[in-house]
């Protein structure tokens, strides 16, 4: 067991290194010169001399592998480098952004899970009933809505038409409401579908028939069904974290929420490579860790699944 975990973690580190290398390589090959971007944004007249000096200063003239190695060693020590845009260290920026993003992401995740868990059980237990049909239509439609659309439409109706909320989000509850809802709606749609399917699969297992045949009370049967679904539900949630991360980039940009997603969008326009790299590595690490954790949890909850 412990041996397996160590093996897994080693594999993860390997995967992270490979991915960061690929992203680094891509940046190296991609068009667009950060030095030039920076100079023009500062209003400096760009001449060959100034440009070269700036490139030298940013370390862009060193060979590719040296740059990557330097960056990698930095990251291991928790140093994500210095922003090309304003010469500030990247790590605190990312951390601050991550904090804000977590507030947003966790709130919408919790709301989604609570709603979809309930709806999923109701829907699966009363299969083909009225409630089931309504829930299915709801989950199908909300699953088909891109979150940027929900955000824009919510903004129009709630902020402009009804003036219930401010257009630009502040860090308070009011400001949190709309971004959270925009993220939660499509996610809830997906969760409901998957959880319903999982509950239905459990309900059609032989042990449910067996318990019914032995006259076990409905609430005990339901308890067993939920207990056995938990493992898969963790996996379902963990896999959605990725979509949530992508979605929060969009939502943060729309609502100007000072999270890591907005940070990375600003950095993309500025060709601020250290920030983009940091973003990819941090998001990747979180995602990978959560999925590993869910695997372990899944194995703990259902020992039949292999680790």
């Amino acid at each position: 067991m412990i041996k397996k975990l160590i093996k897994r973690i080693a594999g993860l580190i390997f995967i992270l290194v490979i991915l960061s290398f690929l992203v680094f390589l891509l940046m190296y090959l991609a068009p667009g010169d950060p030095a030039e971007k920076r100079l023009t944004s500062q209003g400096v007249a760009v001449t060959k001399q100034v440009l070269d000096a700036e490139r030298e200063r940013l370390g862009l003239l060193k060979p590719f592998l040296v740059r990557y190695a330097e960056w990698l060693f930095g990251v291991v020590r928790g140093d994500f480098g210095v922003s090309f845009k304003d010469d500030m260290p990247v790590a605190p920026k990312l951390l601050q952004g991550l904090k804000n993003t977590s507030i947003l992401a966790l709130s919408s995740l919790i709301i989604s899970i609570v709603i979809s868990f309930t709806l999923g059980i109701v829907s699966a237990e009363k299969k083909n009933g009225i409630a089931d049909h309504i829930i299915r239509v709801f989950s199908f439609v909300s699953n088909s809505l891109p979150n940027f659309l929900i955000a824009v439409l919510l903004m129009y109706f709630l902020c402009i038409r009804l003036s219930l909320f401010p257009v630009i989000a502040k860090g308070d509850f009011q400001g949190l409401f709309m971004p959270v809802i925009s993220l939660a709606i499509p996610m809830t749609g997906r969760f409901v579908r998957q959880m319903r399917a999982e509950f239905m699969a459990q309900l059609s297992e032989d042990y449910v028939t067996g318990m019914r045949g032995r006259g076990v009370k409905r609430r005990f049967i339901l308890f067993n069904v939920i207990r056995n679904s938990l493992g898969h539900i963790f996996t379902i949630v963990a896999l959605q974290i990725g979509t949530l991360m992508g979605g929060s980039v969009v939502i943060e940009s729309i609502f100007r929420w000072p999270g890591i997603g907005k940070l990375v969008m600003d950095s993309i326009t500025a060709r601020d490579y250290p920030v983009i790299m940091g973003f990819v590595v941090i998001m990747g690490t979180i995602y990978v860790l959560i999925n590993q954790l869910s695997d372990v949890l899944c194995h703990k909850l259902d020992p039949r699944t292999r680790l």
Partner: protein, 268 residues
């Protein structure tokens, strides 16, 4: 019975889907205005006879832009799904059938790509590549073909254990024959169903990237970027947001429903 209902559903939604494709493909037949012609005299005009969906803040016809934009979105989605489908199926089939080094390489690569959130990678890659729709497609394609490869690999593995494949071995048939005559036709249906269900997701992804400014390069019409542009003056001209939004929602719903219907049919 269930199968019949599912079949009727499929036919119905397929007609809708074909209609959508037809309208956007032959946008010129339906839209009389040039989607790129600006008109300083008709800025932000409300929907009227000449501009059924109104105009945007450059005086361009929203109706024409929605139709032409649909062409961009739908064509890009289909192309991306198709390319991923072809590459993924072939690679997955070969890896699953022959096993060995090719298989291990594929699985390693799949592990790596799937270990990362798709949209995060896509945003980073599209942001770095920054070459319009192609960049957005590449950034989504990097991870998408892997899902096809994994699916067709797992189907190939289970098909390989079927009696008729084993019997074909005993009949002395070549690998190429077994792959082309037995494996490919039998794996096509499930992988194709997966392709159908991917269309909606891909559309959401592509228009999301465009919305962020990582997709098409303006002034090219595309729903996501149209919504993003018009968002700034939504108070004055909400139609410039609503109609592309409506088009996006309808299209995604139709294709998602098609995917669901086909899945129901196969399970019934």
């Amino acid at each position: 019975m269930k199968k019949r209902i599912a079949k009727i559903k499929i036919i119905f939604v397929s007609i809708l889907a074909l209609l959508l494709i037809f309208v956007t493909c032959f946008a010129g037949l339906f839209a009389h205005n040039d989607p790129y012609a600006t008109n300083a005299l008709a800025i932000r005009t409300a929907p009227c006879l000449q501009y059924p969906f109104g105009t945007d803040n450059l005086g361009r016809c929203v109706f024409a832009r929605v139709l032409y934009g649909g062409r961009t979105t739908i064509a890009a989605t289909f192309l991306l799904v198709f390319i991923s489908f072809v590459i993924g199926t072939v690679v997955g089939m070969i890896a699953g059938y022959f096993g060995g080094l090719a298989d291990r390489l594929l699985m390693r690569f799949a592990d790596i790509t799937l270990a990362f959130p798709q949209m995060v990678v896509a945003i980073a890659v599209a942001g770095i590549l920054g070459t319009g729709m192609t960049g957005a497609m590449i950034s989504l394609g990097i991870t998408m073909w892997v899902s096809f490869a994994r699916l067709s690999r797992s189907h190939t593995l289970s098909l390989k254990n079927e009696g008729y494949i084993q019997t074909a071995f005993f009949a002395g048939k070549s690998d190429l024959y077994i792959i082309m005559i037995h494996i490919f036709p039998n794996l096509l249906a499930p992988v194709f169903t997966n392709a159908l269900t991917q269309i909606g997701t891909t559309m959401i992804g592509l228009s999301g990237l465009s919305f962020l400014g990582l997709g098409v390069i303006p002034p090219k019409a595309e729903w996501g970027s149209m919504i993003s542009e018009a968002r700034a003056y939504i108070q004055i001209a909400p139609w410039a947001v609503f109609y592309p939004a409506l088009a996006t929602i309808v299209t995604i719903i139709v294709f998602n429903y098609l995917g669901d219907a086909v899945m129901d049919y196969r399970e019934a």
